[in-house]
């Protein structure tokens, strides 16, 4: 595929007019605010907002010395690790099963694609209802098995709740990509191994799983990005960062400190750290995953 057209149109003004809407929105709502965040992260404003002072990297120093921020960082890492590992394992299991199914494959797929259409915040509400300590069905079942459930008090249970909701929401996506990966593995390879006497488990671990590794790696990055940035709705609706600050992931903390705490410099510094994380993840994706599409 060519990266450039051989034949093009000529007009001194039309192309500018065509890109103008996208550029105006990009400049006003993306670049200007991002610049503001960068600039504010270097300022300190007094309590009344009357004077500001340029402090270089003082906000960042404060941030990384703040136990609350470091703990939020830890929670985010644990949360995204769990979401990625559990989500990928479950989806891979289902995809491997669906790949070899003869009857009802379409029905299974259609039913598994469903959660993709559900909003993260709504997904959180559904699971919140099941795990509600007083009236939730699952909480009730756990109680009767001798496992008292109260995510409003127990930090680990609260984390479990948001991990379940986040994984549930992401299963469809992982499942579809794994299925695509599985179906792209040449049949002849699997058949050759089968003829050589390799059983299903052996075939999976020595052939299928290694051949799937590009898909797995791609999904791993996507799931980490998802857990970092797209789970705000889940956290806000399910736990609001509680109990205490046990489920306060980084994107939730930016919001709480900025909008509720009104700590402009600190919140801006957090934004800048998040930006750095996005840039790093984007770089990983471009460097290691996508080489075919030309930019």
């Amino acid at each position: 595929m060519a990266a450039e057209k051989r034949v093009v149109f000529k007009s001194p003004w039309l192309p500018y007019l065509l890109v103008a809407p996208q550029m105006v929105i990009t400049l006003v709502f993306f670049f200007w605010p991002a610049t503001q965040a960068l600039y504010q992260s270097l300022l300190v404003e007094d309590a009344f907002g009357t004077s500001t002072q340029f402090v270089w990297f003082e906000n960042f120093k404060t941030l990384f010395a703040d136990e609350g921020y470091l703990s939020s960082m830890r929670v985010t890492l644990i949360f995204s690790g769990l979401v990625a590992v559990i989500g990928l394992s479950v989806s891979l299991l289902l995809a491997v099963m669906a790949d070899r199914v003869l009857r009802g494959a379409t029905v299974y797929k259609t039913l598994l694609i469903w959660p993709y259409a559900v909003a993260p915040a709504v997904a959180a509400i559904l699971w919140l209802f099941l795990f509600n300590p007083t009236l939730g069905i699952v909480a009730h079942a756990l109680d009767s098995m001798g496992l008292p459930w109260n995510h409003l008090l127990d930090a680990n249970q609260a984390l479990t709740l948001i991990v379940i909701a986040a994984v549930w929401k992401q299963i469809s996506y992982n499942f579809l990509f794994f299925l695509a990966g599985l179906q792209s593995i040449p049949r002849s390879l699997i058949e050759a191994a089968a003829i050589d006497g390799a059983g299903p488990m052996r075939r999976f671990w020595t052939m299928v799983f290694p051949l799937l590794s590009p898909t797995t790696f791609f999904l791993l990055v996507v799931n980490i990005v998802y857990a970092f940035f797209d789970t705000f709705g889940i956290v806000d609706a399910a736990t609001s960062g509680g109990p205490g600050r046990a489920t306060e992931i980084l994107v939730y903390k930016v919001y709480v400190d900025g909008f509720k705490g009104l700590d402009l410099g600190g919140s801006a510094a957090q934004s800048v750290v998040l930006m750095a994380i996005v840039i790093a993840l984007t770089f990983i994706q471009f460097r290691y995953i996508e080489r075919k599409v030309q930019y």
Binding site: M1, V8, F29, F30, Q36, W114, P120, F129
Partner: protein, 323 residues
């Protein structure tokens, strides 16, 4: 073509992942649609294994569907029935009453806005976002592919960089811009800041590059200008891409949470997803769960319907882009 060639460049946001899904799904759905029954071949086909496979899939799907089923059941019960512990697991008789109540009056607790209004707000928001993104992206991709002009690459990279600036990392300053422009509690405020789309622009660009140059030459010979070419050739050829993008972007727009949470302080501007959250803020005693669950069903319905109703177009778009 291997599916990995099709995997989208970059995915750090749901919309972006969605774009990737589009590009890669081309290899997922159609092939599996077609190969039903063709996958066994020479590999052993033990009935025990086959039963096990179905069993695992059925258990998996049961777990995935369970929350939705319970939500549906709860939305058909009375307030008292929901509070019984454990709640019954078969539908009750209050289905229509509950839905009518939320649609016209909302939940009396927490937020009193009728969900009917919220559904309209969500619909308008999702439509403006999806159509807006498609419109401005197809125009900028057209300019970047079919013209040579100074600063072309600068524009291209500026669009690219927006991938690295999800709303979560610039919320305060973006909110400030929107409030300075007086766009709080307006549809414009809810949608315009989300309309720039690098993913859609790249998708269109990739597709335009595959349109044969002969078509441009033919158009020129016929004396057609660029906009004529755009409307008569580019847009019709992009139909399936547009339809497939629409499905994904509609879901993206409908499911927005953080941004409407900041921008809508007036109940009459709440979207459905925000409305549900506001209904449960009062704590257990003050939450009318049967109504919250009815609202949750309503919030899930339109994106699910769009996927369902547009499935054919969606799959066709994916088949066509499979190349």
């Amino acid at each position: 073509m291997s599916p990995h060639e099709e995997i989208a460049p970059i995915q750090p946001k749901s919309e972006r992942r969605a774009g990737a899904a589009l590009m890669t799904l081309g290899n997922v759905l159609p092939r599996s649609w077609r190969t039903r029954g063709g996958r066994e071949g020479m590999v052993e086909n033990r009935p025990v294994l086959s039963v096990l496979r179905h069993l695992i899939l059925i258990v998996g799907i049961a777990i995935v569907m369970f929350p939705i089923y319970v939500t549906f059941v709860a939305s058909s019960l009375t307030a008292e029935q929901v509070l019984e512990s454990p709640m019954q697991l078969y539908p009750g008789g209050r289905l229509i009453e509950n839905y009518l109540t939320v649609l016209t009056q909302g939940s009396g607790m927490g937020s009193s806005a009728p969900v009917g209004q919220m559904m309209i707000n969500s619909l308008v928001t999702a439509l403006i976002i999806s159509c807006g993104k498609i419109a401005i992206s197809i125009l900028s991709a057209f300019a970047i592919v079919y013209f040579r002009f100074p600063m072309r690459m600068l524009f291209f990279w500026m669009i690219f960089v927006t991938l690295m600036l999800p709303v979560e990392v610039r919320i305060l300053p973006t909110y400030k811009v929107v409030s300075d422009l007086g766009m709080v509690n307006t549809y414009a405020g809810l949608t315009v800041p989300l309309i720039a789309s690098a993913t859609a622009t790249f998708l269109f660009r990739q597709f335009f590059l595959t349109i044969p140059d002969e078509l441009v030459e033919a158009a020129r010979i016929d004396g057609a200008g660029p906009m004529r070419f755009f409307w008569d050739v580019v847009v019709p050829l992009s139909r399936t891409n547009i339809a497939a993008l629409f499905v994904i972007l509609f879901i993206f727009g409908w499911n927005q949470y953080l941004w409407p949470l900041l921008i809508t302080t007036d109940e009459s501007m709440y979207t459905t997803v925000i409305g549900i959250k506001r209904m449960i803020t009062g704590g257990d005693a003050a939450t009318e769960w049967h109504l919250v669950m009815a609202t949750a069903m309503l919030a899930m319905l339109p994106p699910a319907l769009v996927v369902l109703l547009m499935q054919k177009w969606f799959v066709k778009g994916l088949v066509d882009t499979e190349k």
